[in-house]
């Protein structure tokens, strides 16, 4: 089954065209990595897939359902954005509890406690999020995004602000939590993105400039191509 089907997605912000006829298919259980420089439309794409933004043209189906008229569908989506979605004035546990209850989980308390230990923040669970370091925040952000155990996980530039070490730890964490989830991850960094990818898409000026066909035939070549593109600013077909 396709977890994501997107056809001819368009998004305009006034006169600025952020997405141009983007068509995507992601089978359930696979992970798609979307590369692109800043301003390529990666965040716009994630927001549309997350049902936070309505496309100006085209349509999206998630697990065969229409996100525009299906509130309950959001139960299947987890999102990690540029922002943590955490309240600095609540404790780590309260943040998870709030999310778990808003998702209507029957055993919200148990789930929150389980997750907070899973990401290694058990001892800090009663501390205000305000006091957390960058790395701890990142882990809590992931825990919060996974609190309802969503089969689809959307990550928008999750490596931003992480140093090499923290990024490696983060990749490990993602690998652990991945299971049979469908993942869409955006990044502008080839080395971090390729680790998780089953398939890749390169987005340039809102349009799909490259799409891997059957698996990743030649990661190295694609990496070269993309690096060259970022360096010169011009996409060579």
């Amino acid at each position: 089954m396709q977890a994501i089907e997107a056809r001819g997605l368009e998004k305009a912000f006034g006169p600025v065209q952020a997405l141009r006829r983007v068509t995507l298919d992601v089978p359930a259980g696979e992970s798609l990595v979307v590369f692109g420089p800043n301003g390529a439309g990666k965040t716009t794409l994630i927001k549309i897939l997350a049902t936070l933004m309505r496309p100006s043209g085209g349509w999206v189906r998630l697990f065969g359902r229409d996100p525009q008229r299906d509130d309950d569908l959001r139960r299947l989506i987890g999102v990690v954005s540029h922002h943590s979605y955490l309240y600095a004035g609540l404790t780590a546990l309260e943040n998870l509890l709030f999310a778990a209850r808003m998702y209507g989980l029957p055993d919200a308390g148990a789930r929150a406690a389980e997750l907070i230990h899973a990401v290694g923040l058990g001892l800090r669970r009663h501390d205000l999020v305000r006091t957390f370091s960058r790395g701890m925040l990142q882990r809590l952000t992931i825990a919060r995004a996974l609190v309802h155990n969503p089969p689809l996980l959307l990550l928008d530039e999750p490596y931003t602000g992480l140093d090499r070490h923290a990024a490696a730890l983060f990749t490990d964490l993602l690998e652990q939590l991945r299971g049979d989830r469908t993942i869409v991850l955006t990044t502008h960094s080839i080395e971090q993105g390729l680790v998780l990818a089953d398939r890749i898409v390169i987005l340039v000026d809102g349009a799909v400039a490259y799409e891997s066909r059957d698996g990743l035939e030649d990661q190295h070549a694609v990496g070269q191509l993309y690096t060259e593109f970022v360096r010169t600013g011009a996409w060579v077909h």
């Binding site: 305009a12 912000f13 006034g14 006169p15 800043n38 600013g233």
Partner: protein, 255 residues
């Protein structure tokens, strides 16, 4: 003057240039209407020539309310469809509505100076119109400072809906408020609606028609201008794209 291909492209995207006829029609009607107001319509018995300002005041107020009704409709249309054309219609109509409401308030105030002996009185109709004017001035503020992307358009549309629905309530509350403190006995504006001389009515109707045509003309001009500004911005973006430079979307950083 040489017209570049880009200029032609912008003009083509903005749409055909039809409003000119409407503007001439509107201006012609206004000249006729104002001649009728001054020469054709008889002098009012109690207020004398000061009453003639109503041939400007009533049509201005009418166009103001008409414009805000258009804003209301276009705002609902925009919120449901997110089509830029609805947004431009709402924006253009807000601007024109504010101009004509200003005209209505000023002309009403000048008339009030002669009829009531004061520039301003908290007459329910004046007060409601003034609150209305404030709401749509704020709407222009929202347009100016409302933020990046489609945000300002969305916010202005929400205000366009809320503001229009609020008008009856504002009027009701003002009427109730004034009823506790009755106005000093003066000539009420209602006084001349009854027993209006046929020539006065004709002059008024011609002026209302003239102002309405002028509204439609201004509306088309403004919409065309805005569409042209859009097309121009689009072309600039395309140009940057072709040159291979990276551009910004809203507030995002350029890499």
């Amino acid at each position: 003057m040489a017209v570049t291909t880009q200029e032609r492209a912008v003009a083509a995207k903005a749409g055909p240039d039809r409003p000119a006829t409407l503007i001439w029609l509107g201006l012609g009607l206004i000249v006729i209407g104002q001649f009728m107001a001054v020469l054709y319509a008889p002098e009012e018995v109690t207020m004398g020539n000061a009453q003639r300002i109503f041939y400007v005041h009533v049509p201005s107020a009418w166009v103001g309310y008409l414009a805000f009704a258009v804003v209301f409709g276009a705002s609902i249309g925009y919120l449901f469809t997110r089509r830029r054309s609805f947004d431009l219609a709402a924006y253009a109509s807000t601007e024109i509505g504010v101009v004509f409401t200003t005209l209505a308030i000023i002309s009403g105030s000048v008339w009030g100076r002669y009829a009531w002996g004061t520039w301003w009185t908290w007459d329910p109709r004046l007060t409601t119109t003034f609150m209305l004017w404030l709401i749509y001035v704020v709407s222009l503020m929202v347009r100016a400072y409302g933020g990046v992307g489609s945000q300002a358009a969305r916010f202005a549309a929400v205000l366009g809906v809320i503001g229009f629905l609020d008008i009856p309530l504002i009027h009701l509350s003002v009427v109730w408020w004034r009823s506790l403190h009755p106005l000093p006995v003066v000539v009420r504006p209602e006084g001349f609606g009854s027993g209006l001389h046929p020539a006065m009515l004709q002059a008024l109707l011609v002026n209302v028609a003239a102002f309405t045509v002028l509204y439609v003309a201004l509306f088309s001009v403004r919409r065309r201008q805005m569409a042209a500004a859009d097309a121009l911005a689009e072309l600039k973006n395309e140009d940057h794209r072709r040159a291979g430079t990276q551009w910004t979307v809203g507030t995002q950083e350029v890499s």
